[in-house]
């Protein structure tokens, strides 16, 4: 991984509010990278610092080895697709896209060919003469992308690019963004609060919370191996259990005593010592539901509980199951082979089981 965009110990406060707190990140050339987090986590402030609209209190930002921390936005090799697109209403689509090239005083011929090429890329050639007000939301967004990309930025920033679109269009634009990224090969940095968007758009994601980066990883790793319970809950749903490591076994397996539930065997990813307190995470879809106790074995963790609640989602059904103090979410995918034969009713007893490799030990927060 080459360090193309480097964010080096960057902090930014607004009054007493620490918006971005000592964040360090590196993004590779041509990578699609997401800053993901709830509103107020500092992702937008970080984006505005990369774009040049905010100056960090501390730290440096480098693009391709050049320190851009002190540069005004107009001198940075970075362009932005704004959340509300910020298209110039008094200019046609064509002139909007040409704006950046005109500002850098490129020759007329270069402007013409550059704009036409971009219009083709975002498939808006026939709308070139229209004003932004005459376009649909999806078209406006494609103009915003073209207007930024025509300047051949080294980094393209996209601030909540899909937030203003309706569901169907969002799914379509998701594919479109991936295609555009593949075609131009520019480094894309998305800012989003939507984990689904981040997962399907990016090579890697930085999950941010309260001004700090919780974890930077590929979408698969974030989902399968979250390091903190914040990451685990922000990306997908999760069941958490607090327990004590009672028996360390070989190859990283550990038996954990969970008060009021049992003592499942799980795979731990870090160093653990005996009698250490820890937190366990199991995704709802990793829990199998059966009416009878599953055949017991060393590698199966099984507990019984009572179905408290359920919700049908079409592709799957969600169950809330009570086992003593614990309320556990489980998910059943219906097919002829898996769970097709069981149909637990509210109040009935079911067995939950999961494989040791499907549980995760996450950081115990204070």
């Amino acid at each position: 991984m080459d360090d193309f965009l480097v964010i080096d110990h960057v902090s930014k406060s607004f009054g007493a509010q620490r918006a971005v707190d000592d964040v360090s990140l590196t993004v590779g050339k041509g990578e699609a990278f997401s800053l993901l987090g709830p509103s107020g986590c500092g992702k937008t402030t970080l984006l505005r610092m990369i774009a040049g609209f905010e100056r960090p209190d501390r730290g440096r930002i480098l693009v391709g080895g050049q320190d851009i921390t002190a540069l005004p936005p107009e001198l940075r090799p970075v362009n932005t697709v704004f959340q509300n697109y910020a298209l110039f209403p008094h200019l046609s689509v064509w002139e909007n896209i040409a704006f950046g090239l005109r500002m850098s005083r490129r020759p007329r011929e270069e402007i013409r060919s550059g704009v036409d090429r971009m219009l083709e890329l975002v498939r808006l050639s026939e709308h070139a003469r229209k004003r932004p007000g005459q376009l649909s939301g999806g078209q406006r967004q494609r103009v915003a992308i073209a207007r930024a990309l025509v300047n051949r930025p080294q980094v393209l920033l996209l601030d909540e690019p899909l937030a203003a679109l309706d569901l169907k269009l969002r799914q379509h634009m998701l594919m479109e963004l991936n295609t555009i990224h593949e075609q131009v090969g520019t480094t894309f940095i998305y800012v989003t609060h939507d984990q689904g968007e981040a997962m399907s758009l990016s090579d890697r994601i930085a999950v941010m919370n309260a001004g700090k980066v919780e974890q930077v990883d590929t979408p698969e790793h974030l989902y399968e191996m979250p390091r903190t319970s914040f990451v685990a809950t922000f990306i997908g749903d999760a069941n958490f259990f607090t327990g004590i490591a009672v028996e360390l076994q070989h190859e990283g397996y550990v038996r954990v005593l969970i008060e009021g539930l049992g003592s499942p065997l799980v795979l731990s990813n870090g160093e653990l010592s005996a009698n250490q307190k820890l937190r366990l995470m199991v995704r709802p879809e990793k829990i199998s539901l059966t009416l009878k106790r599953p055949p017991s074995g060393e590698r199966v963790n099984a507990f019984s509980g009572i179905v408290e609640d359920m919700a049908y989602f079409g592709s799957h059904t969600r169950y809330r199951i009570r086992a003593g103090e614990h309320s556990i979410l489980a998910q059943l995918q219906r097919s002829r082979f898996s769970g097709g034969e069981i149909d637990p009713a509210r109040g009935s007893e079911v067995w939950m089981s999961f494989h040791p490799d499907e549980a995760r030990v996450v950081r115990l927060e204070a």
Partner: protein
Amino acid sequence: MTADQPPSRQWLLTLPSLAWLSVFFVIPAILVIVTAFRPADLQGGVGAGWTLATLKEVQDPAYLPILWRTFWLSGLTTLVCLALALPMAFQMARVGQRMRQVLLLLVVIPFLSNFLIRIFAWKSLLHPEGPLTKLLIGLHLIPENAVLLNHAGTVLLVLVYTQLPFAILPLYAAAEKFDFGLLDAARDLGAGPWRSFSKVFVPGVQRGLVSAAVMVFVCCLGQYVIPQMVGGTSDEMLGSKIAQRVFSDRNLPHASALAGGLMLAVLLPMLVVVIWQGLSRKEVT
């Protein structure tokens, strides 16, 4: 807007203001134009019968320099006012709610004192024995014998002073609706602060700019108190001539012909603006 109301009913709402306008504006304007075709009588009134003689009288070439001065002074005042009002409106729309109210108040405060009193204030301020003249001579910024009062520059200065709020207010109304995120976009695309202002903000408040320009220009054209009081003898504007024909010469038809001509000169450009704005609005929707 209440879309469910039939348009014919909505039209009724404009009836009071329409009635007001026709009684107090349209009818007097027609009367002024009609008077221009009446002969003047010796008592300063309007005689019986109809005549075209007055129209020939006002084509006197002596009016040409006055007409020219009226237009260039009004035009220049408009340009200066817009140049001063644009940054002011820009800032007013950007500052916080409290500061905005303070600034608005400051813009409107001059209206709390009488127009004539304010002009007299300028007169005494710029008077050869006045404080400003003395101060500037004391600082050697102007020669000893300089006279600040009674020339075209003074008229321009005081015109700009009186008209500036009329330029600021419509521009501020437009700037308040302006999406300042567009300036971020302009900076992001390589425009410096100045070019973001001129290429994005100025076109963004275009409608306010047109309203402000029309407002200031039209008000200037009719001015006669300012050139009379702070201008010199060779700084007469058309308004001064009309006042002179009414009050000194007691020739109402002649004054009417001048006023009617000025009115048409004002209305025609405004008509063009209205049509142009209507066309551009159609283009957007």
